[in-house]
């Protein structure tokens, strides 16, 4: 790790050059995470390695589990016991965790899960991908539930969102998923942690801490009476509605007079920004909406751009997943096109520009 000193508004600002994975780990520790359980998998190994090295310095516990399944169930136990806890993995490992994540969501336990996505399906590859979008935003495991999903597009944002995820998890009593891709995890950028403070410790009177002088607390997801289970699911969904009301986030880039609106998150958004700049130089009125929250999908922000837009272009490192949520948000009022590379292939700005130019020429041949 190198330390870089930047001059910002005349002041010295210490920035550290770190990978996204390391920044996520450091941010978690600063946010008060004291328990971390995980199993090795590329391309996220720097997170458990950083935790193994640094969490004990803060009185925390790092434990390498025997499997992703065991790791997420350790998270379930620790979260139920009232701790601020995190796990991380990459796509195939996240699939293994899905059983536990369903239980955690059902039992309304706060925790943070990091998925540094790689190409799939199956063992797939180890290069960056965004093909776990459906799994992330539609629940992923069995049953009616949602995760709060945040997608960073830089190392700095990965740190910030990770820290915030602990606050949101505690507030909503819900697992929060940081959905990054292999590039965000592996690339180095300058990052500062000056703004990251431990979130307020929300009281957890429901946690299993030993029933001293009180009635026993029970952490559970079993509802044998269908009426009760239905009411439980309705309660969960009232929470998800509150998330939709309060947590929709997106960044707008060169959208003031944009007519062709690109929609991309994470690494793809960074590349799309370059493509937008190149299009602007050619006089094409392109702009970008970069979703930061994937669940809730920032549909209000998308809706606010419909009047100015002539068409939308979703760009993803997948065969087309987020584009479905985009279509739901646009609701048929404008054409929605898709461009994606997958399997670990990263689209270039030139490729995206080509699609922009084709669309500018009359929206033909780009579906």
């Amino acid at each position: 790790m190198r330390v870089i000193v930047f001059i910002k508004r005349g002041a010295l600002l210490m920035k550290r050059l770190m990978t996204g994975n390391e920044a996520i780990a450091e941010a978690a520790i600063r946010a008060g995470c004291r328990y971390f359980f995980a199993y090795p998998i590329t391309p996220q190994n720097e997170i458990p390695e950083y935790m193994a090295l640094h969490l004990p310095e803060h009185g925390g516990v790092f434990l390498q589990a025997e499997s992703e399944i065991a790791a997420i169930n350790m998270v379930y136990g620790a979260a139920g016991a009232g701790a601020r806890v995190m796990t991380s993995s990459s796509s195939p490992g996240i699939s293994l965790k899905m059983e536990g994540i369903s239980y955690i969501a059902a039992a309304e336990l706060p925790c943070v899960i990091v998925n540094v996505m790689r190409g799939g399906p199956g063992l797939g590859g180890i290069q960056p991908s965004q093909s776990d979008y459906f799994q992330a935003v539609k629940g992923g495991g069995h049953g009616d539930y949602r995760l709060l999903v945040l997608a960073p597009a830089s190392v700095q944002e990965a740190a910030g969102l990770t820290a915030e995820a602990f606050v949101l998890a505690d507030y909503y009593r819900n697992p929060v998923l940081i959905l990054a891709d292999g590039i965000i995890g592996q690339m180095m950028e300058p990052v500062t942690f000056e703004d990251i403070k431990p979130g307020e410790n929300i009281a957890k009177p429901w946690a299993t801490t030993g029933a001293r002088g009180r009635e026993p607390n029970i952490i559970n997801s079993l509802y044998l009476d269908p009426e009760e289970l239905e009411e439980h699911n309705r309660k969960l969904f009232r929470k998800y509605e509150e998330m939709k009301e309060s947590e929709q986030r997106a960044e707008l880039y060169r959208m003031e007079d944009a007519e062709l609106v690109l929609v991309a998150y994470g690494t793809t958004a960074r590349i799309a920004m370059t493509a937008v700049d190149m299009a602007r130089e050619k006089g094409l009125k392109a702009g970008l909406v970069r979703p930061i929250s994937l669940f809730p999908f920032p549909e209000r922000i998308i809706r606010s751009t419909i009047r100015q837009s002539s068409a939308y272009l979703a760009v993803e490192m997948s065969m087309g997943q987020m584009v479905e949520d985009l279509r739901l948000a646009v609701n048929g009022e404008r054409p929605v096109y898709f461009y994606g590379r997958t399997g670990g292939v990263v689209p270039t700005a030139e490729e995206i520009l080509e699609r922009i130019e084709i669309l500018a020429g009359g929206y033909e041949g780009c579906a």
Partner: protein, 246 residues
């Protein structure tokens, strides 16, 4: 008249849902008596598993977490790492522990997690209606081994106590049976010892309890107890399989 034994405080006053002749009620009571005697009810955090005892959280009068099938030792690990000063135990059947949860069990044992596992071995899947378990005896008829378990096709009774006896993180390991009063007294002593090992911070402790399942074995409660005594104990000898010096 003098009351020698009352209802354990560590057990909620709630009627069990277990079948007549099932060992779960007895095992629950013994654990509750041990929690009472060691005065650790308010320090205890139990983990219920998936199987007939899934509702254990409704019976034990202490903090409880319900775990996914087989994952109780991992859940208990998470709890114990957060609260090293509390007493953490799991309550698991043989389908849960010896089949789907074998990895979680062995690795929690090997890490020497300071938890206590109560393992109910009745050689069958109870809650789902009597299917074959890894612990089913050779020739034993179940709904998925209708002609009797064929060891050449489906393997042999998995002996958990013997399997764990070589694992260095295990501090105390015993197999007991609850088929008659003398064995019940012995069984309770083993449960108490297991909790004492946890309290002393010695490592992982497990008590395997041979149990009867009259409903799914298709026997009367008395016949089922005889089956435990005459058949199960032959395949699963009782005893202390590992015990670190105190």
């Amino acid at each position: 008249m003098r009351l020698i034994k009352g209802y354990p405080v560590s057990l909620k006053e709630k009627e069990f849902h277990y079948c007549p002749g099932c060992t779960h009620g007895l095992a629950h009571r013994l654990i509750a008596e041990v929690l009472d005697e060691l005065e650790i009810r308010e320090e205890a955090i139990g983990v219920a598993s998936v199987g007939c005892s899934v509702l254990a959280y409704e019976y034990f009068n202490c903090d409880m977490q319900q775990a996914a099938h087989g994952r109780a030792p991992a859940v208990a690990t998470g709890i114990k790492r957060v609260h090293p000063d509390k007493v953490v135990f799991t309550y698991q059947g043989d389908g849960d522990l010896a089949s789907i949860g074998l990895a979680e069990l062995i690795h929690a044992a090997n890490r020497g997690e300071k938890i206590t596992v109560i393992f109910i071995n009745n050689a069958i899947y109870g809650m789902t209606g009597g299917q074959m378990a890894p612990t089913t005896l050779p020739g034993q008829r179940t709904s998925t081994s209708p002609a009797g378990r064929s060891s050449s096709e489906t393997g042999f009774p998995l002996k958990i106590a013997e399997l764990l006896s070589t694992v260095e993180g295990v501090a105390y390991l015993a197999r007991v049976s609850l088929h008659d009063p003398a064995h019940i007294v012995e069984g309770k002593r083993a449960i108490k010892t297991a909790f004492e090992y946890q309290l002393a911070g010695r490592g992982f402790s497990l008590v395997e309890i041979l149990a009867a399942c009259p409903t799914n074995w298709g026997m009367t409660p008395l016949k089922a107890l005889e089956f435990v005594r005459d058949e199960m104990l032959k395949v699963y000898p009782k005893g202390v399989y590992r015990r670190l010096e105190k």
